[in-house]
């Protein structure tokens, strides 16, 4: 069965819960996307930019010292941190910018949490000569100040959102309001596998290049499929991107890692599968952190990119069908993973990606040396250096 179905449903999850004003734009986007994805010229153009602008394929790197140190499964890192702009987000931003050009929409808007998606969108807007406005929670602007300045250097307008938790969720609401107002001239470049159909499907497709490459690369390196894949899950785009090509390979275990914040018991986290239940937020039916009345809970994570109350609907589907397992790691565990990867491999991961590394620190030692894990290193840690200093109590 192909998912999603034509209503954008992944089993009971997904759908299109938006104001009527946006329905025509979503239907148009779906129509244009379905047409262009089969268009050879579009695919050639996308491939060209992914290769010569983004720098794909990204390497699949055998982390030998990390493997030795953990003493179990062989660990491979899928190096999305080596993409232009430093994270996987640009795979999707390029695809959507090309679609916006086809729909003749001269203005791009986007939300951003960690700032990586904002930087990616500002980057492709500059490259294609499109106007660009980025919405970002004021709390995130503070913890990702470097990325705010990067976006401005790239010519984007960065608009702070001072509502709710002042993080990713509030930035998405504000971007949706902008889109509702300017839908005729504006394309909304949503940054993760969230929101109303066709976004979760389309963004998955744009990110699935990660898993297609990794599958070929691991077959070349090991002559077999891996035993497991590990990726952090904010909205879930880098995870779905890595998982998608392996979903039919039932023997490959898929593990998504959510933000455990200060611990699940503390209530200060963003682990939707540990503390949430299905509901509707920002266009889609999915697992959601909410109270008994259906009000959305505030979330916490040291990592702005994982600090969100809902999760992509396809992950809810994989969770329910048991195709993927979901776990969480705390802020402190993520920070320890950041340190370990920096010291053992000379790679500073984004704090988001450090969550995936932290899970590997737990699982790899319990596995056989003959077993193989692929971890998605979704982004580089330069943007987080100030935040890490703050956590360590160091003033720069």
């Amino acid at each position: 069965m192909a998912i999603p179905d034509r209503h954008g449903r992944f089993g009971p999850y997904g759908g299109r819960y938006v104001p009527e004003t946006l329905m025509p734009a979503l239907l148009e986007l779906e129509e244009v996307y379905q047409r262009t994805r089969r268009d050879k010229r579009f695919q050639a153009e996308l491939k060209h930019y992914l290769k010569d602008y983004v720098g794909r394929p990204t390497p699949l790197y055998f982390a030998e010292r990390l493997t030795k140190r953990l003493g179990g499964a062989k660990i491979y890192l899928k190096r999305e941190d080596l993409c232009h702009t430093g994270a996987h987000k640009i795979n999707n931003a390029i695809g959507q910018a090309l679609l916006a050009k086809r729909m003749k929409k001269p203005r791009l808007i986007a939300e951003t949490g960690a700032g990586q998606h904002g930087v990616a969108t500002a980057t492709v807007a500059a490259m294609f000569g499109l106007e660009c406005e980025i919405y970002m929670g004021t709390e995130d602007m503070q913890r990702q100040a470097l990325n705010v300045f990067r976006m401005r250097l790239l010519g984007a307008t960065v608009t702070g959102v001072d509502a709710g938790s002042r993080t990713l969720k509030d930035a998405i609401s504000e971007a949706m309001r902008d889109w509702t107002t300017n839908v005729r001239t504006t394309h909304y470049v949503l940054g993760s596998v969230l929101g109303a159909h066709p976004y979760p499907m389309m963004i998955r497709d744009f990110q699935s290049v990660i898993g297609r490459e990794a599958r070929k690369q691991i077959l070349a390196a090991e002559g077999r499929l891996p035993d497991g894949l590990v990726a952090c899950v904010g909205g879930g785009s880098n995870a779905i991107g890595l998982f998608h090509a392996f979903v039919p390979d039932k023997k490959v275990k898929l593990v998504g890692v959510e933000a455990g914040g200060l611990g699940i018991e503390s209530g200060k986290h963003a682990a939707r599968f540990a503390g949430g239940r299905p509901g509707v937020l920002q266009g889609t039916m999915t697992y959601l952190l909410q109270d008994d009345n259906g009000q959305v809970n505030l979330t916490h994570s040291v990592s702005a990119g994982l600090d969100y109350a809902a999760v992509g609907p396809e992950h809810s589907f994989h969770k329910e069908t048991n195709r993927a397992q979901y776990t969480s790691v705390t802020d402190d565990e993520a920070l320890a993973a950041f340190d370990l990867l920096a010291r053992e491999e000379g790679i500073m991961p984004a704090l988001e990606s450090a969550h995936a590394i932290a899970e590997v620190m737990r699982s790899a030692p319990t596995m056989k040396k003959s077993q193989v894990l692929i971890v998605n290193l979704s982004g580089r840690g330069d943007k987080d250096v100030q935040q890490v200093a703050r956590m360590k109590g160091v003033t720069l």
Binding site: P19, M23, P24, T180, T181, V183, L281, Q282, G294
Partner: protein
């Protein structure tokens, strides 16, 4: 051949207004009465629980007194994507006063000892989903609610509500927008009960209305698909706006302009008086010349 369905005489205007009886939906009753008199409905929106549910009840009675024909009660939600800053802030105040959907239903039940004015709830989908779709429809009608507007639920996603709403006699009111295509107009107009809510601007609540000709065109196009009344909202802020909209539609919906006054006078003791005066000015502007 004569078609008796289509040639039935409209109700004579000098008839005594028919009394509402319990088997009637209050919204249908009121809108058909107004139509028979050649008048337009004034539909006023306030946020439930802003500043408190007790004051909401007082406000509802005052709105009716001041000439409102239908009350729309907003249900405060943490993430109101279709609302501008004025209603967002009202939702925050409603949440801060501890207002929940269950409590709102109790307030409406209480109000029903004093008034039979039609009451429509405007709630985001997750609040309804958390309550349980079927249970909500039963309890809402039982409490005295006549219709439901869910701004983030187009009819395409209304499956789980359709059966229970029809069974309970709760109107599902859907929205059309300036961006709606002909196909969507036909579909949404057919699905909408009580009235069709035409969103007068491409945008969120509280934006400015400036294209009355466009509104007139769109209302005419919607009327080709349905006999259900068409009410126009989003951006109706002044008595002059209300008059212009009353000229082209069956109902005028005023939200942010009232909610702003609730925000300004919520704590100064003049709440009821200020809101009442404003609604009277809207109603006066809408009287046929």
């Amino acid at each position: 051949m004569l078609n008796f369905e289509l040639t039935r005489e409209p109700r004579a205007t000098n008839d005594k207004p028919e009394e509402w009886t319990e088997d009637m939906n209050r919204l249908d009753h009121t809108l058909s009465q107004l139509k028979a008199k050649g008048e337009k409905a004034l539909i006023t929106y306030i946020m439930a629980g802003d500043p408190s549910l007790q004051e909401t009840e007082q406000l509802v009675l005052e709105l009716e007194h001041a000439g409102a024909d239908v009350i729309e009660l907003g249900v405060p939600f943490s993430d109101p994507i279709a609302d501008g800053p004025v209603i967002q802030k009202a939702a925050e105040r409603g949440l801060r006063s501890g207002t929940s959907l269950r409590m709102i239903l109790e307030s409406v039940r209480h109000l029903r000892t004093n008034t039979q004015i039609p009451i429509v709830l405007m709630a985001y989908y997750n609040n309804i989903h958390a309550f349980g779709e079927a249970e909500f429809c039963r309890k809402a009608v039982d409490a005295g609610i006549d219709g439901l507007i869910v701004p983030d639920m187009p009819p395409d996603e209304a499956g789980p509500l359709r059966g229970p709403a029809d069974e309970a006699g709760l109107h599902l009111i859907f929205l059309l927008a300036p961006t709606s295509t002909a196909a969507r107009r036909a579909y949404v107009a057919k699905e909408s009960g009580g009235f069709v809510y035409y969103v007068s601007i491409t945008g969120i609540t509280g934006a400015k209305l400036n294209d009355i000709a466009g509104v007139r065109d769109n209302v005419a196009k919607i009327r080709k698909h349905t006999k259900t009344p068409v009410a126009v909202g989003f951006g109706v802020a002044t008595p002059d706006d209300a008059a212009r909209v009353a000229d082209v539609a069956d109902g005028v919906i005023v939200g942010s302009a009232i909610v702003r006054r609730v925000g300004e006078h919520g704590q100064d003791g003049r709440l009821i008086q200020e809101v009442g005066a404003f609604v009277r000015s809207l109603k006066a502007a809408m009287q046929p010349a």
